[in-house]
């Protein structure tokens, strides 16, 4: 017994139908999972943030990212600020930066102010933005 007869005799059509159903069901499930994967990733990411790191303190907290071009300078100026204490006088920071031979102290300080790394306290003095990283 060969051909279609043999297929029918051994439930071949039913097996084929079940096989096709399994494959299609599997593919459908897979596509649903993939389409919803971004939600899972968002959830994992949100959980990760709430369990550690600086951003965890307050979800509404704004973190100032120091741009690459002033990052090195920011480190140097931060050291000076640590030495003179806060709030600090901007002319004093400028004077010390010049004395230490830092490059272009005026425009660097201006960049740090404009990037909100250095903040005015409203009283004529300045503070280092702790949210700057």
């Amino acid at each position: 017994m060969t051909g279609f007869e043999a297929i029918s005799a051994h439930n071949g059509w039913a097996i084929a139908a079940i096989g096709i159903s399994i494959v299609f069901t599997g593919l459908t499930l897979l596509s649903i999972i993939i389409s919803q994967l971004h939600k899972v990733l968002e959830y994992i990411e949100a959980r990760g943030k709430s369990h550690g790191g600086r951003a965890s303190k307050d979800d509404s907290e704004i973190i100032i990212v120091i741009p690459k071009e002033v990052r090195q300078a920011a480190r140097q100026y931060r050291m000076i600020v640590d030495r003179i204490g806060e709030p600090f006088a901007l002319p004093r920071l400028l004077e010390l930066a010049s004395r230490h031979g830092l490059e272009k102290p005026h425009s660097t300080i201006n960049s740090l102010i404009k990037k909100q790394v250095i903040l005015p306290d409203g009283e004529g003095y300045f503070t280092w933005n702790e949210k700057a990283s």
Partner: protein, 150 residues
């Protein structure tokens, strides 16, 4: 070279000036280029020039180490040119290169005194700025600061 009237009209300080008033003012104002670190005014020195910022960034520092920075077009430096005792109250320094309009103090004062309408218009704009800045130089130095210890 006198400043073009369009530039003057675009500045808040002269926003209420008529065409005729701007024409009268134009030959008195000159554009200057400033470089990073350039000192525009020195505290205690006779106030000879009045500046209006066109571009660039500036810091004004006072005797008590207080300071503020200017970053906007139309900001002014050197109001002491029209207020007794006609001596600068702070050190103004350019933090970056930029452009400013400069008006000689004696000419500025003469203009204000000669024309009461112009005088009123200018003083109405400058008085709030003076009121805003006076606290910076009228207060003593801040108390001892805390070192972060980092």
């Amino acid at each position: 070279m006198p400043t073009d009237i369009g530039t003057l009209r675009s500045l808040d300080l002269f926003s209420e000036f008529t065409e005729e008033e701007l024409k009268a003012l134009s030959p008195l104002i000159h554009r200057v280029r400033v470089t990073e670190g350039e000192i525009l005014t020195q505290r205690g020195e006779p106030a000879t020039n009045f500046y209006i910022v066109l571009s660039g960034n500036f810091m004004i520092a006072f005797n008590n180490e207080r300071a503020f920075t200017l970053h906007r077009r139309g900001d002014i430096i050197g109001w002491s040119t029209i207020v007794t005792p006609f001596r600068y109250t702070g050190n103004a320094v350019a933090l970056t290169q930029g452009d400013a309009l400069v008006l000689r103090g004696d000419e500025f004062l003469r203009l204000i005194q000669a024309d009461s309408v112009i005088g009123d218009k200018i003083m109405n704009k400058i008085n709030p700025i003076i009121a805003e800045r006076v606290p910076y130089f009228s207060r003593d130095k801040a108390p001892a600061r805390s070192s972060s210890g980092r």
